[in-house]
C-alpha cells in the first residue's frame, strides 16, 4: 500500500502541477475562448489531482487529506515528472507540453480503467473522457501552429525543443509502477512508448513538424521527478502555490 499511495501521488502530482501551469494562462491568453478552454483543462486536471491525492492520503492512512498533500509536502516529496514543471508563458511550449503529457496520460488511463483497484479504475474511467479532449485541444493547436505561419511553426518547434528532452522520464518504468503493474493495479509506463510515439508522429505529420533533435535532460545520479528530484523551476512554483496555506496553518478554508 505504500506503493499504491506513491503511485496515486505520481499521477496526482502530474495533474496538479500541470493544472497550476495552465492556470497561469487565465487572464493572459491570446483569445478569450482559449482562456476558457485552458481553464477547463486546468479544472479537469485539478479534479483528477484531488481524487488521486485523496486516494493517496486514505491509502497511506496518516490522516493527510488532499490539502495536506498539496500544500504541506516539501519539494522532494512530490512525485510528478519534471516535464510539468517547465515554465509557462509561451503558447508553443504549452501546446507541446500539453500534447505530450495528455498523449501519455490518455494511453495510461485507457489501460488503468482495467486496474484491479476499483478506485483507480473509476478515476481513470472518468478521466479518460477529459484527457481525450485535452489531447484533441493540444493536437488541434499543434496543427494550427505548425501549419500556420512560418513564425508559428518555429515557435511550435521551439516549444517541442524544450519539452522533448524531458519525455524519456515518462517511460522509465519506475520500480513502484512495475511492482504494482505486476499485481494488476498499475500500468507499466514502458509499455506506453509505442502508442505515444505513434500518436506524436501522426500529429507531427499533420502539423508539418519535424520533431527537433535534442539533448535529453539527464537525471541526478539516476534519480528524477518520480524520486523527488525535480528542476530548479519547481521550487518557485511550489513557493507560490503553497504560500498562503503555509502562511496561516491554523486557518480553515
Amino acid at each position: 500500500t505504500a506503493d499504491l499511495a506513491a503511485y496515486c501521488l505520481m499521477l496526482g502530482d502530474d495533474a496538479l502541477i500541470l493544472s497550476q501551469r495552465l492556470t497561469e494562462w487565465v487572464t493572459c491568453a491570446h483569445e478569450l475562448e482559449d482562456e476558457v478552454a485552458l481553464a477547463n483543462i486546468a479544472l479537469d486536471l485539478l479534479g483528477q489531482a484531488r481524487m488521486l491525492l485523496s486516494r493517496a492520503g486514505s491509502v497511506e492512512g496518516l490522516g493527510r487529506d488532499e490539502d495536506a498533500l498539496a500544500y504541506f509536502r516539501s519539494e522532494p516529496e512530490f512525485r510528478n515528472v519534471r516535464l510539468v514543471e517547465l515554465p509557462g508563458g509561451d503558447f508553443g511550449r504549452t501546446t507541446a507540453a500539453l500534447l505530450v503529457l495528455s498523449t501519455w496520460r490518455l494511453a495510461l488511463l485507457n489501460r488503468l480503467v482495467g486496474s484491479s483497484d476499483p478506485v483507480l479504475s473509476a478515476i481513470a474511467a472518468k478521466a479518460v473522457k477529459e484527457v481525450t479532449y485535452h489531447r484533441e485541444y493540444a493536437a488541434r493547436w499543434a496543427v494550427r501552429l505548425g501549419d500556420g505561419t512560418d513564425y508559428s511553426a518555429e515557435r511550435l518547434r521551439s516549444g517541442f525543443a524544450d519539452v522533448l528532452p524531458l519525455v524519456d522520464e515518462l517511460f522509465t518504468g519506475h520500480a513502484v509502477e512495475r511492482r504494482l503493474a505486476a499485481a494488476g493495479v498499475a500500468v507499466d509506463s514502458t509499455e506506453l512508448r509505442e502508442e505515444f510515439d505513434g500518436v506524436l508522429a501522426q500529429v507531427a505529420e499533420q502539423a508539418l513538424l519535424r520533431l527537433p533533435e535534442v539533448n535529453r535532460v539527464g537525471s541526478v545520479g539516476g534519480l528524477a521527478g518520480r524520486d523527488g528530484v525535480h528542476t530548479e523551476h519547481f521550487g518557485y512554483l511550489l513557493a507560490e502555490m503553497q504560500s498562503l496555506a503555509r502562511a496561516d496553518p491554523e486557518a480553515t478554508w
Binding site: 487565465v26 493572459c28 481553464a39 507560490e240 496561516d248 478554508w253
Partner: protein
C-alpha cells in the same frame, strides 16, 4: 411629396412602433428598426459591461495560483472561467448591434472604452476573493437584475443567464467569508480589512448621484435602465447591512443606521472625488489592468494569425480537392 419627406414620415412611423414596443415592455430585436441613439447607448453599455467581465477576471485571477485549498482553487477557477464566458455572451450581444468584437477589444486596450471602475482596485488577500463575491457581485446583481427586463432582447437574455451565475458566485463569496470569520485571527483580520477596502468602491459601482447622472432619464425612457443610481444604491445598502451583521463585520461608515421613517438605511456619501480620479485613470490598478490585457492581446497576435493562416490553407486545400 419628395423622397426625403417620405423617408422622414417612414422614420416617424418606425419610431412610433419602437416606442410602443418599449412602452409595452416588449423586446426590440436585432432586425427591428431602432433609433441611432438607442443603438449607440446600448453598444457603449454592453461593451462596457463585457469589458468589465474580462477585466474583472484579473483581481480574482491574482489568487488562482495561490488559493489556499484545492476546493477553493477549483471554485475560483470555475468562477473566473464563468466571467470569461459572460464576457463572450456580452460581446455576442454587442455584435447583434453591428459592431465587431475585435474592434471592441482594440478600444479596450487603447483605453477608448471603459469598464467598471471597481476593478481598478487591487485584490490583496484571499479575503478579497470573498468580499468581491459578496459585495462586488452583490452590487452587480442589484444593477443587473433589472437589465433582465431590458428592452433590447439579446442583452436581456444574456443578463438572465449571467444573473443566475452571479448569484451563485455571490453565495460562494459570502460562504468563504463565513468560513474565514470562523477561522484564525489572521483570517478575521483579513476579512475586516478587505471589507474596509471594498465597501466604498462597491457603493460607487452604481454610478454618480442622480443629480450628476445626465443620461439616466433617456436610458429609462428607452427601457434600458429601470431605476436610478441612487435607488439601486439604496437597495444594495438595505440588502447588505443585515448580511454584514450576520457575518460579524462592521461596515466602515459611521453614518450607517436604520431610518425607521424611510424604512431604509441611511448612509454617508462615498468620496466622489476618488470616484472621478479612478474614472480618469488614476486608480491603484488602471494601468496594470489594461496593460495586462494589451500585453495578452499583442503577445498573442502570432497565435491568432497562425489560426487564420491555417484556416485559409485548409479552405484552399478543400477547394483544390473539390
Amino acid at each position: 411629396m419628395s423622397t426625403d419627406e417620405a423617408t422622414v414620415t417612414d422614420e416617424e412611423r418606425l419610431y412610433e412602433r419602437f416606442e410602443a414596443t418599449v412602452e409595452h415592455d416588449q423586446r426590440v430585436e436585432p432586425r427591428d428598426w431602432m433609433p441611432e441613439g438607442y443603438r449607440k447607448t446600448l453598444v457603449r453599455q454592453i461593451a462596457q459591461h463585457a469589458h468589465s467581465e474580462i477585466i474583472g477576471m484579473q483581481p480574482e485571477g491574482n489568487w488562482l495560483t495561490r488559493a489556499p485549498s484545492l476546493r477553493r482553487k477549483a471554485i475560483l477557477l470555475a468562477k473566473v472561467q464563468d466571467e470569461a464566458g459572460h464576457g463572450l455572451y456580452l460581446y455576442s450581444a454587442a455584435e447583434t448591434l453591428g459592431v465587431e468584437r475585435s474592434d471592441l477589444t482594440e478600444k479596450l486596450v487603447a483605453r477608448r472604452q471603459k469598464y467598471s471602475s471597481i476593478f481598478n482596485y487591487p485584490a490583496l488577500t484571499f479575503a478579497d476573493i470573498g468580499v468581491i463575491g459578496w459585495l462586488v457581485d452583490g452590487a452587480a446583481i442589484v444593477n443587473q437584475v433589472p437589465l433582465c427586463r431590458c428592452s433590447y432582447g439579446p442583452y436581456a437574455r444574456a443578463m438572465i443567464r449571467i444573473c443566475k451565475e452571479e448569484s451563485f458566485h455571490q453565495r460562494q463569496g459570502y460562504e468563504l467569508l463565513l468560513t474565514m470569520m470562523n477561522g484564525s485571527e489572521r483570517q478575521r483580520r483579513d476579512v475586516r480589512d478587505a471589507v474596509d477596502r471594498w465597501w466604498w468602491p462597491s457603493l460607487m459601482m452604481f454610478g454618480p448621484p442622480d443629480g450628476d447622472s445626465p443620461n439616466t432619464q433617456q436610458s429609462m425612457a428607452w427601457g434600458i435602465k429601470r431605476h436610478t443610481n441612487d435607488q439601486l444604491r439604496q437597495k444594495f445598502v438595505d440588502m447588505t447591512v443585515p448580511q454584514a451583521d450576520a457575518l460579524g463585520v462592521t461596515l466602515p461608515d459611521s453614518g450607517l443606521s436604520y431610518n425607521a421613517e424611510r424604512e431604509h438605511y441611511d448612509f454617508s456619501e462615498p468620496d466622489w472625488e476618488e470616484f472621478h480620479r479612478v474614472l480618469a485613470g488614476e486608480g491603484p490598478c488602471n494601468t496594470q489592468r489594461v496593460e495586462r490585457r494589451r500585453a495578452a492581446h499583442e503577445g498573442g497576435s502570432w497565435v491568432r494569425e497562425a489560426a487564420v493562416a491555417h484556416a485559409a490553407k485548409q479552405a484552399e486545400r478543400g477547394r483544390a480537392a473539390v
